[in-house]
Symmetry: C2
Subunit: 353 residues, 2 copies
């Protein structure tokens, strides 16, 4: 198959780990006789420096023409004092909205070999394998009004959702649960928020269409506790944008391998943006020591979700697992034994596997 991929390296370690993903994808193309073409554009701090905007219109135009987007990471201290429209994260928020990337999928699964690095006790974290499905284009992130009063004495942000926006993410979550362990936990704050009540109603309305999926409702505060006390009781978690932001970051540190976690952000028309769950790590940028695995696994997610190349995706995932089991690790992983390698060496080891 022929596929066009847009690369958005972004800031910090972004460019280094994007290189790793491209190397892996080229190997896959060769092995499975596909043709991947890569274009590259600007986003985040890099775009601010070059074009005075965190998301140039050329980047959006290019993203709309390709089959999928790979994003490295955005942000860094250089732009931290900028006014908000000139901050790197704005590029991320803007591309989500521009491409209508409403479904953010974040799998959290530990590597057997690395569970030592988990902050949790082994009996708590063992067997955890969950997927957070976060709504990504609604809620407090984009609701209007979002402003200070004229006299500066008060401020308002707005949490809005349409029924349609809730329905599509909830359906996506049910479908994701069907492909996994058929268990869905819907997280809301229905004892306080009107939006959560509608959310809960829609989950209950959709339930009969997925009779094989076991659903339960959980309040967001209870979910924040249970992720720590019983992470292995979850399969798929679905929630709105801000709760998803908090819970998915909370979940991302449980296994001790944040540097290994990929994510996918999907639109209804099939286009997807794939990026690591971790940030741009400006402190280690340019040193060639970043962990490329979250980026590489994000590329695998792209193959699976956007290109329906299941075998190819599994091929990458197995190569990563084998490399980890061989004892190779990068500096971010708190393991005690094995061989410490650079970004390039890690990538080459994965290529060999």
């Amino acid at each position: 198959m022929k596929k066009d991929i847009l690369l958005l390296p972004g800031d910090g370690i972004g460019p280094e780990i994007i290189d790793s993903a491209v190397a892996i994808l080229e190997a896959i193309a060769k092995k499975f006789k596909h043709e991947f073409t890569f274009k590259q554009h600007l986003i985040g701090g890099a775009a601010i420096d070059a074009a005075s905007t965190p998301l140039p219109t050329e980047t959006i135009a290019a993203a709309k023409k390709v089959d999928a987007v790979l994003l490295g990471a955005v942000g860094g201290p250089k732009w931290d004092q900028n006014p908000s429209h000139l901050r790197p994260e704005r590029g991320l928020l803007a591309i989500r909205k521009a491409l209508d990337l409403y479904a953010n999928l974040r799998p959290v699964k530990g590597f057997e070999h690395l569970l030592d690095a988990s902050p949790l006790k082994p009996d708590i974290i063992n067997g955890s394998d969950l997927l957070i499905v976060r709504e990504l284009t609604g809620g407090l992130y984009f609701g209007e009004p979002s402003q200070r009063s004229k006299d500066g004495q008060s401020v308002v942000d707005t949490l809005t959702y349409t029924r349609y926006e809730m329905e599509r993410i909830i359906k996506k979550a049910f479908e994701s649960a069907q492909l996994r362990k058929q268990k869905l936990t819907s997280v809301d704050k229905a004892n306080v928020l009107e939006s959560s009540k509608l959310w809960r109603e829609i989950v209950d309305q959709q339930k009969p269409f997925y009779p094989d999926v076991e659903v339960n409702h959980m309040l967001v505060d209870a979910a924040a506790m249970k992720l720590i006390t019983e992470p292995n009781s979850f399969d798929v978690i679905v929630t709105e944008n801000m709760f998803g932001d908090i819970l998915s970051d909370e979940a991302s540190v449980l296994t001790g391998s944040l540097g290994m976690l990929p994510s996918a952000s999907l639109a209804e028309n099939g286009i997807g943006l794939y990026e690591p769950a971790h940030g741009s790590a400006p402190d280690i940028a340019g040193q060639g020591i970043a962990n490329p695995i979250a980026m590489i696994l994000s590329a695998a997610m792209m193959l699976r979700y956007s290109f329906k190349m299941d075998t190819e995706a599994s091929n990458i995932e197995q190569a990563v697992e084998a490399t980890i089991n061989n004892g190779y690790y990068t500096a971010d992983l708190k393991v005690k034994t094995g061989s410490l390698v650079t970004t390039k060496e890690m990538t080459n080891n994965i290529l060999r596997n």
Copy 2:
């Protein structure tokens, strides 16, 4: 001293643990020659059953006349299907608003002897001792509009704050940090919310007035991670209502002793409501096996914050600690050795100490 205390036992294990707190307070009164008088009123499910409202006006009137309020817990499956204005939690939200209890203080500290029960590894949890200061009467909890559109196709909730509301909670947090380890972490989502930008500004404006306090800003998603990976890096955390709800529940399970954590909700005029961080535990209600310690430590917080009885409060806290160190535990605590006791036996042991 003479003090009037309002008891709101509420639902589930509420009445049992309130009895324990009263027994302890009576012993303190005797020992230190104070005079505590107790009145009792309805809240939550108990009030719904007796008076068709989760917060009768008599309860509010009584609360406004006393020196402090002790609350057991509200809620239970019996009322779970009720329409929202007839749900027990509404009583809690309404009393917070009626008494203007804007500052919720939740200390999280493990008992040396019980750290085994923590889901975290010992090297991660050891030494953790933090205080969450949560704004309790603003934000998404009370903002208007909070409703569905007429056609039912969309929904809105509103996050509002006045500068004044932010200022008073932020000052309270600075003052709390001065009394502890002089470290304040202000948590917001300033890369997305306008309200968080004002919040951050006010924190920075207040900073010069507390030169002994070291302040830093942290995004809520980062805080959700760091609570797990480095809980002992925190001293005081201050944040708005919904973020505080999520983070304080997340923090409450870290030490493995949720049944031991008290909380205080304070108004500007000095009145305070004190309640355990845990819920009404309907599954074990009426069996006399509930852990009374969070309630007893809440009473100790009342002595300290509302009555300025520091010695008396420490007396209770030391008795609790001694009892735990003697190996007594209730059924909720996942410890492996010691003597399993009932609510009454635990209370009597604490009384003896």
